[in-house]
């Protein structure tokens, strides 16, 4: 009898800026229903910890923040592995990935599968380097200037012209329409994420936003992808609804980027439709929060990632049919103070498997 697959997943909070973890878990369970999922959490109130549905976790552990560095991460994962020997870890937050890349040899020696992305391709797609990447790949990217202080931010804004966006190194962005707004947005981003800050030209055109989730094979090929137009946005521009599109020009841009980077594993490319076509505004090195949508229409990329990590043969995913759409639907999850108490001790373990849909039960 083969041992139950045990997968650790992070990014469990589905708030107004939803993280991908629960969508990744749900997708994996579609292919691997008996997989045991270990949640890696940074906060007692991450919503995924309270889910009793198929996007919930079988156990959860509090993690040191990524800024604590690779050693702290490894120490914690070693502690977790003593209780739940891990087969693989799927980090779902941008800020976590550098630590995992740093530790790839350590994980190899422990036989824990982690992303096989290279540091070089990870760095080439970051916000500071995206413009150069676009140029090299032949994909349009809005003009970008990296700034480290306020004076430089003012100069960059004047040079690019208003309106434009100031973006944090990893997260966060603010639209700036006049010189008077520069200082506020710049200082907010520096305080939240540290420097540098990236000044990026706004895209003039229809303003329609397109996202593409996909899986690279590490040799320049694409194992599967799904492109959507965002049809509903949250206050901070996240997709709350989307519809599948089939645009050969968009697909060509995606393929060019993945080929240039020889990208391995999951990614999300964000485009805005400008006057001269799609412009790439960001590339995220992970699955997006809406990744369970393509999984439900025949393109289960997280399950394919598990296959890749297990060195199983991976057949390319079938294309998603244009017109299929998703609308996000938020529900209230019931928890108990005892769960907070347990997790505040560092871990939350469930004896049974309350994660399957059929186990949903009324709570009095």
């Amino acid at each position: 009898m083969t041992r139950q697959l045990r997968i650790a997943v992070s990014g469990l909070h589905r708030g107004d800026n939803p993280q991908p973890g629960p969508a990744v878990i749900r997708s994996i369970r579609r292919r691997y229903p008996s997989a045991q999922i270990i949640g890696l959490s940074y906060d007692l109130l991450e919503s995924g910890l309270f889910s009793k549905s198929d996007d919930g976790v079988d156990a959860a552990f509090l993690m040191p923040f990524p800024a604590k560095g690779p050693d702290a991460l490894l120490e914690r994962l070693d502690e977790i592995s003593e209780i739940y020997p891990l087969d693989m870890v799927i980090p779902c937050l941008d800020s976590e990935i550098p630590n995992y890349l740093e530790l790839s040899d350590e994980f190899k020696s422990r036989r824990i599968k982690t992303p096989l992305l290279t540091r070089k391709s990870f760095d080439r797609r970051n916000k500071e380097n995206l413009f150069q990447l676009g140029k090299a790949a032949g994909v349009r990217v809005p003009r970008t200037i990296v700034v480290c202080d306020l004076m430089a931010a003012h100069r960059a804004c004047e040079e690019i012209g208003f309106p434009l966006f100031l973006k944090g190194k990893q997260y966060g962005a603010g639209r700036v329409t006049s010189p008077a707004e520069v200082a506020h947005v710049f200082h907010s981003l520096m305080a939240a994420w540290g420097g540098p800050v990236i000044a990026q030209s706004a895209v003039h055109g229809s303003g329609d936003e397109y996202d593409v989730v996909g899986l690279g094979d590490g040799r320049g090929g694409l194992l599967g992808s799904c492109a959507i137009r965002k049809i509903m946005l949250t206050g901070n521009g996240k997709a709350f609804g989307g519809i599948v599109v089939n645009d050969p020009a968009l697909q060509e841009s995606v393929e060019k980027i993945i080929r240039k980077l020889k990208w391995w594993g999951p990614f999300e490319l964000e485009f805005v439709r400008g006057q001269h076509g799609h412009e790439l505004i960001e590339m995220n090195p992970r699955f997006p929060a809406w990744t369970d949508f393509p999984s439900q229409i025949g393109c289960n990329l997280p399950a394919m990632l598990v296959d890749m990590l297990l060195s199983r043969p991976v057949a390319p995913a079938s294309p998603c049919k244009p017109g299929r759409m998703f609308i996000r639907h938020n529900l209230d999850l019931v928890g108990d103070i005892s769960q907070l108490a347990e997790l505040s001790g560092g871990s939350l373990m469930r004896d049974t498997q309350p994660n399957l849909l059929q186990s949903l039960e009324p709570v009095n």
Partner: protein
């Protein structure tokens, strides 16, 4: 006849729509599979788009349109011309 538009300059925010990319859904929605944009359309608009997709010659389109909606040929021709200008369809 009308196509409900969100922008003054055509169906795709000024970008031309290729007929081959346009899908009529349940006779009341035009969906551009390439841009992902969709628009509620009237029965008469759906009729014209359907004929154009079938590559019906313009003269035959005017005839079938005037018969279908029981309007004079001249009115049908004007109606169709205005509609085509409106949606910036590239044939």
């Amino acid at each position: 006849m009308s196509a409900n538009r969100t922008r003054k300059n055509g169906m795709n925010g000024g970008n031309a729509v290729h007929l081959s990319n346009l899908k009529i859904v349940n006779g009341c929605l035009a969906f551009d599979v390439c841009s992902g944009k969709f628009h509620r359309i009237s029965e008469s608009a759906a009729f014209v788009i359907g004929e154009l997709k079938r590559q019906t010659p313009f003269g035959a389109l005017i005839s079938s349109y005037s018969q279908r909606f029981k309007i004079p040929r001249a009115v049908a021709a004007r109606d169709i011309e205005l509609f085509l200008n409106d949606i910036s369809v590239v044939r």
